[in-house]
Symmetry: C2
Subunit: 216 residues, 2 copies
Amino acid sequence: MSRPAKFDRDEALQAAMLIFWEKGYHATSLKDLECALKMKPGSIYSAFCNKENLYLLALGLYVQRSINRFRAHMEQANSPLTGLAEYIRGFARLAPEDVACQVCMLTKTLVDATSTEPKIADQAKIHLGHIRQAFADAFERAKAEGELPDHADCTHLARRFQGTIAALRFELHLGIEQTDIAALAEELAGDVETLRLNAPDHPHLITATSFGVTPT
Amino acid sequence: MSRPAKFDRDEALQAAMLIFWEKGYHATSLKDLECALKMKPGSIYSAFCNKENLYLLALGLYVQRSINRFRAHMEQANSPLTGLAEYIRGFARLAPEDVACQVCMLTKTLVDATSTEPKIADQAKIHLGHIRQAFADAFERAKAEGELPDHADCTHLARRFQGTIAALRFELHLGIEQTDIAALAEELAGDVETLRLNAPDHPHLITATSFGVTPT
DNA sequence: TGAGTTAATGATCGATTACTCAACAACTTT
DNA sequence: AAAGTTGTTGAGTAATCGATCATTAACTCA
């Protein structure tokens, strides 16, 4: 029975995600979406209800992919703490592809939508909490493997980790030199690895020469 | 000769700054501006040319005030490094007034305007550079007063300082608990003070228990 | 093949957008 | 008080906004 849909829903959602990510909610018009999704207005509305709902779906896709990518990255890491540090370094490598996709879409959403689209902002906050939880889980695994002291506050570490990444991505967005970005990422990643207990080459004796800590 | 203007230009610019800061460039309509400035469209256009120009002027006012406030704060500080640390703590205190004004307007501008309003984005980048320079100057003073080692990279420290503040303000924006914000701000401020050389109660021997460094 | 079902279309909707301008008002100067 | 100059006004511009829907096209099943 009936006629099957011609368009690929996942493909369309991905296209929506990319254009929303690039331009933001308010600056993305239906015309933009028509071009990006290669669908006429009627089809968009029958498939996704309205612009707000489409944005929420696109944001969900973004979060799902982000968490999947993080988990996949952590699985192939030598240790949880190494994986977390390496995750930071990764941002310096993906640098110059799309100017607008360097800022986290959730950050952008919150900044863009808080005062005008509370529904979207609330959802973004929930998503950010989930990502933070994925980070916290990784720190918990680090603790379980003896990389962190028992009294370490993993939720707090996750918050700091998330803030660190946001700051790094914002520098990316600002467009500073590739070498500076790499150095900054290296420094931030080093801060994470400095948390490690009993590291043979990273004793607890450290001196602060920059913002974070640099082992001597 | 001629009729004098009825409206107060500074007052109008301040009102524009506040509403732009709250809603962002795209989500602020001329209707919003008419209400906020208490001016009719014709008057707005005769006084400020167009929406983009009004935004640029409002952003300029924001930056001027930000830098003035920072300089004033630093002048009444016991030392440059203490002033910088205290500046961070200050963000935790101003917490819950306006939900939308917790994020730096320049950050918001860059996120909001990069892909659609290059002129505004470029100006925001320039402004951010000026603020960073004000931070760097403060670090230089700290170095001159012997609070930092001679080899300290003040530009780099300023960048980290700016990123730290952005991350803290983003947490404010997320609406975490007042006590958590205070603790986070205290920790971040502590990281700054840990840079101090020859502090009698902060020897160089420190252990990393959180992200930054905590003196033992 | 024809009946039934649903996807796709795009002209069109009213509302809103940034913006303009001719008419008017208010002030200064002569 | 008259002339001259400039600020203020708000109805109105064309364009675009998000969203709709009658119509048509494309498929499945009997």
